[in-house]
């Protein structure tokens, strides 16, 4: 009787360990969004940017960025991507408004409504029909495990999905190279935006 109880306890223990082990990689993969349904928009868009970088390709990219040791921006980018598991970007620009449907965006939002994802920033402008959101997924240690950015504008739809530990401050602070505006440029952009906003108000 005792032996049977012990064996039941052992089976339960091993099943628990197995479930826990299976759950670990699943949790890491949760931050990955399904973006394939957006592919159909490529036909309507005037400009398409489609990036799919999985773990191996990211490591290779990090290795090649490491070769540009004299370039601080390359080193910055390298330090940002070296621990990532994936970067997925789908960006469409259209010459006419309303080329994508609300259901296309809803499909993404429904995935981001799943447990684990938290919307940290939302900007809605009903007049201009603009809707921008930033989501973050955190792991059990409260570290960032994934990021999603959705920018839905009349003539543009962009979805960025980063899987893995990413530092949003560093990501935001990237500047200079390849047209990424640095702090000075950002100040300039801010002033310009403020001026345009005040001009609109007047």
């Amino acid at each position: 009787m005792k032996t049977a109880a012990r064996s039941n306890w052992l089976i339960g223990f091993f099943v628990g360990v197995l479930v826990f082990c299976l759950a670990l990689p699943t949790r890491a993969q949760d931050a990955r969004l399904k973006l394939a349904q957006l592919e159909k928009l490529s036909a309507k868009a005037v400009e398409v940017n489609n990036v799919t970088l999985d773990g191996d390709m990211l490591q290779l990219a990090a290795k090649f960025l490491d070769l540009d040791k004299d370039d601080p921006e390359s080193q910055q980018v390298k330090s940002l991507i070296k621990n990532l598991k994936g970067i997925y970007v789908k960006s469409f620009e259209f010459d006419q408004p309303n080329q994508y449907s609300a259901s296309d965006v809803e499909e993404i939002r429904s995935q981001l409504a799943a447990p684990g994802w938290n919307k940290i920033v939302e900007s809605r402008d009903k007049r201009a029909n603009e809707n921008d959101e930033i989501y973050v997924m955190k792991d059990s240690h409260n570290n960032v495990a994934g990021v999603a950015i959705v920018v839905a504008e009349p003539k543009e739809l962009t979805v960025v999905n980063i899987v893995g530990p990413v530092d949003l401050d560093k990501l935001s602070a990237l500047g200079g190279k390849f047209g990424i505006p640095g702090d000075k440029e950002k100040e300039h952009v801010k002033k310009k935006t403020t001026r345009e906003a005040s001009h609109d108000k007047s």
Partner: protein, 118 residues
């Protein structure tokens, strides 16, 4: 025993082997040609090459070694070129992805800041 040069000439005069000899030669010529015709030329050349290689084992070994070393170096070089090409593409993709991410992130932040500005 006495003999003259003419005796030697007479003793060693030419003998014709007869018409049967001519026929035998022609039969062998035909046989040889039939064999050459029935065997594909490239095949016979390969065969000759193969037999030539078998006759010179040291040379064959050296050639095989050089071939293996050459093929290995070629393969390593090819792999290197392929990896460089893929690595460069991956690097450009990573930079593009981060540029878009950075731009969109800052765009959203700017909009929020702008919205919060009284």
């Amino acid at each position: 025993m006495q003999f003259s040069e003419d005796d030697l000439r007479a003793a060693l005069r030419r003998k014709d082997p007869g018409e049967s000899f001519t026929e035998s030669v022609m039969a062998r010529v035909n046989q040889l040609q039939a064999r050459v015709t029935s065997t594909p030329k490239a095949g016979s050349q390969l065969g000759e090459l193969w037999h030539g290689l078998l006759r010179r084992p040291a040379l064959t070994g050296a050639a095989a070694g050089m071939l293996i070393v050459g093929a290995s170096l070629g393969f390593v070089h090819y792999r290197g070129v392929q990896e460089r090409r893929t690595g460069e593409v991956a690097k450009q993709q990573a930079l593009l992805a981060l540029r878009i991410t950075n731009a969109k992130l800052n765009h959203v932040i700017e909009r929020v800041k702008t919205a919060q500005t009284p």
